[in-house]
Point group: C2
Chain length 439, copies 2
């Protein structure tokens, strides 16, 4: 029986999870492939010995030693971040090793260089674990949906942000309090910026768009807004309108241009994405042949991520065994088919909106606000006026029909300068399924 040797760079949470998965699933992988997968070596500068169950695995502090070891077939990079991950990945490719990584920051920023190097060298780069944790979403897009023009991508792709929004929704407590608690429970990192500001979600959307449309894109091309400004009262008003607030990645394919954005979104409670709670992720595709498809599962976690990394390792192991490296292009389209496609400017988009306006409780306030909206052709769907007190501002909450970004920005600029308005207006985009799926 052939043995495929894996070298692992990074024995942190995800790395040690992979090691555990390869050990616990060892016999199953043989039964399903006839191949033995061996964790031959681990490189990690932080540890001096491996747990006893990995006695057969070599430990080194020098990743290059492993990269240059001719016995290693596949290098798994699980250190995260741009450097030194990028250097190790490129050196592994240059040494003719196949690479598996969960590093979405690296791929969404440096993917072009990495995939070009891999194509030149004739090695594979697997990255199932970079989006949606253990959910087999990359394989679905590359293979299961191969006969589809992907018309839209929509998803909840960050478990930390979804966990925070779910607890804010269920318990009515502010963002900062939930975040602090999530950090104590290990659901959020000490520096939560990437997760709560939508950057991690943008990394993942960039990877999915590359593969769905066969295009060059980095996460810097994606308009990104996080959830740190979402307040419990917005969640409560959303509920009154029949919506949940979710941090969504949204892309729609208009043929010669494609939308790409990450922002808090009011999702109708009848939509499946409104029911995705806690640390779960869900990614929704619309394809021109398959219609709507949604894939759901844990978006992170030591062992679920290990499931995805192990699946990539097996895919490559089978290709090694069958001398079929390159059988499916890494990015789903052949390298020469990957094009530049224009990103639709945000200013060209339109959607229904939620506004929360802080106004003085005086006669004529609503008339003034409605007058400005009308001036910009923004059509009101419904209005709730809340928080009427003896003194102090009231919240005027408005949902609109579909209105262009440009008009909304101009109208709110004017509304926020009205004498009767006492604080900047909060605006949240609403999901319009008609617009989303039939664009």
């Amino acid at each position: 029986m052939r043995t495929i040797s894996v070298g692992l760079i990074g024995f942190g949470t995800v790395g040690s999870g992979l090691a555990e998965v390869l050990l616990s699933q060892k016999d199953r992988l043989v039964q399903r492939s006839g191949l033995a997968v061996r964790l031959a070596c681990v490189a990690d500068i932080m540890i001096d010995e491996l747990p006893p169950q990995f006695a057969g695995t070599k430990l080194t502090k020098d990743a290059r030693e492993m990269i240059n070891d001719p016995e290693i077939d596949i290098i798994v990079e699980l250190i995260g971040g741009i450097e030194p991950a990028k250097t190790f990945v490129l050196e592994a490719i240059a040494a003719g090793k196949h690479v598996v990584t969960a590093n979405k920051a690296l791929l969404s920023q440096e993917g072009k260089e990495i995939f070009a190097a891999a194509a030149d060298k004739g090695v594979e780069v697997g990255f199932e674990a970079s989006v949606g944790g253990g959910i087999p979403v990359i394989k679905a897009l590359k293979e299961g949906l191969v006969a589809n023009n992907i018309l839209s991508i929509m998803g909840i792709m960050n478990g930390t942000a979804n966990y925070i929004l779910t607890r804010m929704t269920d318990e009515g407590i502010p963002f900062a309090d939930v975040l602090k608690d999530a950090q104590e429970l290990g659901f959020a990192e000490a520096d939560p910026t990437y997760d709560v500001e939508g950057i991690d979600t943008a990394h993942k959307l960039a990877i999915l768009m590359t593969m769905a449309y066969g295009m060059n894109i980095t996460h810097n091309d994606i308009a990104t807004e996080g959830i740190s400004q979402v307040e419990p009262m917005d969640i409560e008003f959303a509920r009154e309108f029949g919506y949940r607030i979710k941090l969504l990645a949204i892309s729609k394919n208009h043929g010669d241009n494609v939308e790409a954005r990450v922002h808090p979104t009011m999702v109708p409670e009848s939509h499946l994405l409104a029911s995705i709670n806690g640390a779960y992720n869900a990614i929704h595709f619309t394809g021109d042949t398959v219609g709507n498809v949604l894939l759901y599962g844990l978006g992170a976690g030591k062992i679920p991520t290990g499931s995805a990394v192990a699946a990539d390792v097996m895919d490559i192991a089978r290709n090694i065994e069958f001398e079929a490296v390159g059988r499916v292009p890494s990015l789903s389209y052949l390298p020469e088919e990957i094009k530049d496609i224009t990103i639709t400017p945000m200013d060209d988009l339109a959607c229904p909106w939620y506004f929360r306006i802080s106004a003085k409780d005086k006669p004529g306030v609503l008339a003034s606000i409605a007058g400005v909206l009308s001036e910009y052709d923004i059509s009101i769907e419904s209005v709730i006026q809340k928080g009427r007190q003896e003194t102090g501002p009231v919240s005027i909450v408005i949902s609109t029909h579909t209105a262009p970004e440009v008009a909304v920005h101009a109208a709110l600029e004017k509304i926020d300068h009205l004498d009767v308005v006492s604080a900047p207006t909060v605006k949240i985009r609403m999901l319009d399924e008609t617009v989303s799926f039939e664009g």
Copy 2:
């Protein structure tokens, strides 16, 4: 550029859908694989000519002519049913052709013979479209979740049954009326037995269990109950208890034995499966490494099914090109690893229950019923008494804590013989997530 030639048996709804998909996605498939897929020939006894867009495709009334044509690489069987499909599939395999089929009845009944023949001959059998329409669920199970011991399978796998239950739930109208309407709208077949009696769902569960556990099973091994006895009032009572009624396929892996059953199930409304409506399907797996995963999409339909068949064709085409036939075993485990595993007898199972008892409106009725339940150690969770009228029976609706099948059958036998009970008791199993996922 290499051309892979496909022969299609059956140009009905699904067959013509595949032809359309191969035509509309022709360029995309080239861009994603470097291979051209050509629909070389169609065999169908019912038609005399193909639509004009398929001018390059030969039409025959004799499937054997195509099976024996050395230019054909892959035979796609889309006629459905056992015969002559089985004969054509076995003859195609014997002729050294790869086979793709959407025929769940055939595979769940005759799969053992077909897959053995294919393994002997060294050809592939693709069947992504046999479960979940266009949802790439077979590929997920074979490859994406390769590093998982599947602990449970749970799903809504028949779009017709789910469509009927959804309309019964939304509109409060009886099964027979919705079925009639569904037939007129083309959502149900003239003979709906397979769909509404759970047989089609059992076919699909048998296929998934084969692959998930590496076991021999046919749909005859699966305890199957359909939805034709579900009444609007049960749906309404379910709602009062916070549940939806869904036709679920359920399998739990207990290691040395596995559960396998299809029946109407009360699903807590907080569970994602309760939100799967209309003709959509959703399949939920729990794996020991990935945790919970759910895949959602259209479970049928001409073009979505074509998406799945085309994905299988591409998979085989890539294996032909790379001389990697057999790269992934057809049933996810190597043929020699597929075992006989005992199906847990239904009598050994236990779950929470819903009972609707038709009783005379007399003092002491509830005491008699509760007395019998207590005698069999069945613990009541809640009781609703409805329909109190001047004359005629009342409905006593009871939800129970987890109770064994055997005790429930014996207790209801006794209850139905009480003087005060006027009609056979309706019983519906309730989903207990704790039991379902941690079995």
